[in-house]
Symmetry: C2
Subunit: 337 residues, 2 copies
C-alpha cells in the first residue's frame, strides 16, 4: 500500500540554532515542502538583522533540499512600530506571541496579556495582514493553563476581527470548542497530542521524552483533538512543535520540555488517519488547510509513504548532538519510500 502526500507542511517547528539546527533542519526539509520556524532562540528574533541572519543559517543547513521552504516568524513584542512591521512583512509568515515564562526560551515574552498593552503591535499586524501565532497558556495550574487562556483568545479575536489568530499546539477540548466561535481563530495540533495523555507522561513512570509544553492532558481532551484533526476541519493544521533537546538534557533531570517528532511525523500521522478511516482528510490536515489559512502556494513536492515497518532509531546524531525521537526503538507501520 502506497500513500502520496502532496507538499506536506509543518506549521509549527523548532529548529533552534547552530549545531542543533544543522542536525534537525535537514530532517524536516527531507519530508516536508515547507515549515513554519519558531523564533524563540536565545536571544529571540526581534530585529530584521537577526531574522535575515537566521534565514541564512536555515538555508545553509537545508541547502541540499531545494524542494523545501522555511517560513520564519518574529518574536512578538508589544511595541513594534508599524513601519518596522511593514518593512519586515514580506520576510515573515507570522509573529509568535509568548506569555513570559510559559515555555522554553520565553522569558522575554509579554508579561501582560492585557489587550491594551498588546494593541499597538496587534493593530499594525491586523492592518498589514500578518498572522498572529500564540502559545496560549497562563501561568496557572498545569492542567488548567490552556483552558484559562481561552478568554484571552476571545478578547483578541473579537477586538481584531481582521487578524488571523492561530492557537498553537492546542491540547484541550476547551480550545477545540472555541475554534468555531470566531471566524478568525485557527489552530495547530502536534503529533503527540493526538496520541498521548498525561498518563503517558507521568501515569506509569516519568517519561521525559514525552514531556512538553503544553503538557498532554486528559483522555477526553486527546479524543477531541483527534476527532478535530481527522475530520478535515478547515481551520486546523498540523504543527509538530517538534523540539529537539540534547539527550542528556532530557534525561538527566527532565530539564527540557519538548517532543522530537520531525523525522517520524508523517509516517505516524498516516497511521493515525488510517486507523480512523480518515486517510481522505490527511492532505487537508498536513497541507491544504495551511495553504488557505496562510494564503500561500507551497513548493510542489510529493512524499510517498509505503505500508512497511520502520524501526525508529534510538537517536538522531550529528554535529555533536544526540536527539531522541518519539517512538525511539519502536516499530511504526509506515515508512518513507
Amino acid at each position: 500500500m502506497t500513500l502520496r502526500l502532496s507538499s506536506p507542511l509543518d506549521m509549527h517547528i523548532h529548529f533552534r540554532d547552530e549545531e542543533m539546527l544543522k542536525l534537525v533542519a535537514p530532517l524536516t526539509a527531507k519530508t516536508f515542502s515547507g515549515a513554519l520556524i519558531m523564533p524563540n532562540l536565545v536571544p529571540p528574533i526581534t530585529t530584521k538583522e537577526a531574522l535575515l541572519s537566521y534565514i541564512k543559517r536555515i538555508k545553509e543547513a537545508t541547502k541540499e533540499q531545494a524542494d523545501f521552504e522555511a517560513f520564519v516568524t518574529l518574536f512578538f513584542q508589544a511595541d513594534y512600530s508599524y513601519e518596522f512591521l511593514e518593512d519586515i512583512k514580506d520576510s515573515i509568515i507570522g509573529i509568535k506571541l509568548y506569555p513570559a515564562g510559559v515555555t522554553t526560551n520565553s522569558e522575554t515574552g509579554v508579561s501582560s496579556m492585557d489587550i491594551n498593552v498588546l494593541r499597538p503591535t496587534l493593530e499594525s499586524m491586523s492592518k498589514l495582514g500578518i498572522p498572529l501565532c500564540v502559545h496560549g497558556e497562563t501561568n496557572g495550574f498545569v492542567m488548567d493553563r490552556e483552558k484559562e487562556f481561552m478568554p484571552i483568545y476571545e478578547s483578541i479575536a473579537s477586538a481584531f476581527p481582521d487578524l488571523t489568530i492561530i492557537m498553537e499546539h492546542i491540547t484541550t477540548k476547551a480550545a477545540v470548542d472555541l475554534l468555531d466561535k470566531y471566524p478568525n481563530l485557527y489552530a495547530t495540533i502536534t503529533l503527540q497530542h493526538l496520541i498521548i495523555t498525561l498518563d503517558d507522561v507521568a501515569g506509569g513512570m516519568l517519561k521525559p521524552h514525552l514531556f512538553c509544553k503544553p503538557i498532554a492532558k486528559r483522555p477526553e481532551d486527546r479524543d477531541a483533538l483527534l476527532h478535530l484533526a481527522i475530520s478535515g476541519h478547515p481551520k486546523v493544521m498540523f504543527g509538530s512543535d517538534s523540539a529537539p533537546h540534547p539527550k542528556h538534557k532530557k534525561e538527566a533531570c527532565g530539564c527540557a520540555a519538548g517532543v522530537f517528532t520531525a523525522p517520524i511525523a508523517l509516517q505516524v500521522l498516516a497511521q493515525i488517519f488510517e486507523d480512523n478511516n480518515a486517510l481522505d482528510n490527511l492532505d487537508k490536515f498536513i497541507s491544504l488547510n495551511a495553504r488557505k489559512i496562510y494564503k500561500f502556494t507551497p513548493i510542489e513536492k510529493t512524499i510517498t509513504l509505503i505500508k512497511k515497518d520502520f524501526s525508529v532509531p534510538s537517536s538522531y546524531d550529528g554535529f555533536n548532538q544526540t536527539v531522541v525521537p518519539m517512538f525511539a526503538n519502536e516499530s511504526i507501520p509506515w515508512s518513507l519510500k
Copy 2:
C-alpha cells in the same frame, strides 16, 4: 523557640531491604518512636517466615535506637486462611492491600477488587481485629485513579463495619470527603501531599524527586488535605510514605516513584503546622490519633525541635546507597535539637 514532640509515629513508610534498609531505617528510628513498615519487598511478605526474618533485619538495622519500634505489615492476599492470620496476628499491625500494578513492587497485588474475591481474608481480618491498609488507586487515568477508588472503599467499609480501614496516602478532596461517611474509615497523609501539586512535579520542569504514587493532584486537593491534617481530625494520621530509591534510578529516567522524606518530615511538619497556626494539633496528627486508631501505646520518646535553619543535605549516603531527600540543598526553618 522549642517544640517537644511526644513519641512521634510514621504510620506508613518503606524501609525496603538489605543495604537500603541499613541506610534508611536508622534515619527514621532516630526521630520517630514507631513506624509502620510496608511489606512490598521483592518478593512481598506473605509468609510467617518472611515476616519474622524481616523483623529481625529491621531490628538489626535499628539496634542502636532502643527507643524505636517497627510495626510490620503483611502483603494482602485474598486467600489467607483464618488459622494463618490468627497465628500471625500478634506479629503484625495490619495488612496492606495493593491492587496489582498500581505502584512499586505491587505486581503480585490483588487483580480484582471485587468484594467477593477479597471476602475470605477480609472476613478473618474483621473477626481478628486486624486493620486493613489500602493503596486506593484504580488503573485508570492518573488524575482520576484515587477518586475512582472511592466506591471500592465504600463497598468494603459497608460490608465489613467492624474492619478498621486505612485509606493510605490520600491525595484528593474526594478521599477527604469520604472519610467521615463511614465510622471505620481512616486515612494517612504524606508530607509531600500537604505541600505540592502536580505543578511541582511537571508544571515547570519534570521533577523526578517529587514524583510519587499516587501522584500529587490539584491545588484544591492539596488544600483539602492540608485543612484536614491541621484540623486535628481524629481519623487522620501522618504516614510519610517515605520511599528511598537510589539516586541514579530516580534521575536517569524517572523510573522510580516515591519521595524520600524520613529525615526531614518532623521538621517540615512543624513548619506547616506553625504556618497555619495549628501547632496545638501537631501531636494529634503525628502521634495521638494513630495510638487510638491502631490501639497501642508507643515507646515513650521525646523529640525536640528548635527554630533554627537546617540545611538539608544533597543526599544521604551509606552502604553504597545514595538517596536524595525532599528539599535537598534547601534550608528549612526547624532543626532537630
